[in-house]
């Protein structure tokens, strides 16, 4: 299979953890995504930012994984944020109502500035 496995990296920006995503978010991404979220969800972190700048494909299974992360975040009182979504996936986040629960920012700088 020639799909592009998801690669993640996690770093802190104050009380926000930033997860940079690169590749495709589908069924193959489950382990990488959950692993990154676990690393990001330190006790003093109040929000986790998912950076989608380098994500070129999200399917319904990927949406389900994000729903799973969102459920986890809400359970522990954290906000889940997004940045860098293309217009197409921004529309999908609206259709699925994910955008009702996850603030969508155009870029990381804006997201961090408003959640410091």
């Amino acid at each position: 299979m020639a799909t592009k496995a998801l690669e993640t990296s996690v770093r802190r920006a104050g009380v926000v953890s930033v997860i940079s995503l690169e590749g495709e978010i589908d069924g193959f991404a489950e382990e990488a995504l959950n692993h990154a979220y676990t690393a990001a969800a330190a006790p003093d972190v109040t929000a986790v930012l998912l950076k989608f700048d380098r994500v070129d494909y999200i399917n319904s299974t990927g949406i389900a994984l994000i729903v799973g992360l969102l459920a986890q975040a809400r359970k522990s009182g954290r906000r889940l944020l997004t940045s860098g979504l293309s217009q197409h996936y921004r529309e999908i986040f609206q259709i699925t109502r994910l955008s009702d629960f996850m603030q969508i920012y155009p870029d990381e700088a804006t997201a961090l500035a408003q959640n410091a």
Binding site: S60, T61, H88, I95, R97
Partner: protein, 533 residues
Amino acid sequence: MSNLLPSLWQRLFGTGRRAAPTLAEPRPAAPLAAPPTVLDLDIAPTDPLAVYFQANAQPVELDKLNFESPALQRLKASGAKLVVPLVSQGELIGLINLGPRRSEQDYSADDRGLLSNLATQAAPAVRVAQLVRQQQLEAQERERMEQELRVARLIQQTLLPRELPALAGWQLSAYYQPARAVGGDFYDFVRFDDGRLALIIGDVTDKGVPAALVMATTRSILRSGAQRWAAPGRVLEYANDMLVGDIPPKMFVTCLFAVLEPATGRLVFANAGHDLPYRRHAGGVAEMRAVGMPLGLLPGMHYEEREVVLEPGDSVLLYSDGLVEAHNPAREMFGFPRLQACLGRHPGGAGLVDFLLAERARFVGPDWDQEDDTALVIVQREALPAGGWQTLASFDWPSEPGNERLAMEKVAEAVRQHAALPPGRLEKLKTAVAEATMNAMEHGNKFQPDVCVHFEVRASAGAVAVQITDQGGAPDRAAETPNLDAKLAGQQSPRGWGLFLIKNMVDEMHVTSDRHTHTVELVMRREESNRGD
């Protein structure tokens, strides 16, 4: 006469003066073996000597002539004693000049009679020889000009594209006909790695080899500029700056440079003083205006870039002035309004070139001598069949997890090649195709790699339809509508978004099943519409 005389003997016997054996420059004390020479004497028609010989076509001793005449003075200075005019059909065509007799006696009446007879008989022969020589020179000149034309044509024909680029979903046609005096028209195509295509047409002022050489240079400059920038305005700026220092005086180049993006129909263009291209579309025929000076006139010019989007069925005509500047016997010009009207009357496509040439031929009449080169380039986006469906792609794909992404790209490529959907709507179709394919591979074919999902991609004038067929028969695939609140509360599985996404991405979804197969048809219209749901 004045033109004939100075070169009389050169024409007869070539330029070597010693090659004129019958006419000796008068040399009173000349040695016996002195070679005869030609006196290069130009006698103006108004010279009294010319007037005299026209009236007296007889040998005459120069000492007896006393009037102011530059020609007479030169003859006397050369030592000539007796001059015998050569007259043919009333026209003075030469003189036989004789020096003093070696006996130092005067020429006798017999001598003069003999010389007069000789001149009478020689003159027609000299005249014939003159005419033959003149024809030979004219033939040489014609041959030289023909050779120059052959070189100019060779340069042009060598540099014009040998074949047209093949573009899926597009028709390209080109025509080039040099006039007798070859001009500097040219057209060219440049392919880019990303699928775009540059369309170039140009016209060098002047004709013949100089114009052909400037055309060749311009073509090379434009090609190298295109490789660096692929932006029409920038390429023309570069070409102008390169040409302006080196182009011969009073020459310049008009050029239209356009870059076509076949997937979207976007055509970006800039114009260096060339005839405005025409775009034929559903609403009529329109000029494509962009401002810019011809190349090679002034340094540092800026070229405006404009763009249009060619819809299916639209075409663009690039042409040189040989088409519009053709004249009929009444000296009326074919002209832009007539060309625009012709374009409006023709449905376009491969026959448009022949149609335009036939219209011009009808206008100019049968005896027309082509005044200038004619170059035409037509690019047309293929029309989608009205009311019917055209198959864009048909393929099978093995059922393995993750393969939906590859199948989705293959469908997208077919749609993109035929430019059947705007990019935003194609993205939505891609997501729907991926989801339907995942369902087909997982639920229909149970991820058996040797059982394929079949894809049919079709387009009509207004929509694209993708049929995705698996071998799962008619199962019960009813899925509950996803509710995010319920999912976040743990009352629903986080999954189950596939069908929901499909329905929200495309305009229509049709499902058909039989005992063996299950087909989902996704329909996406070209234009956004109120879905009413």
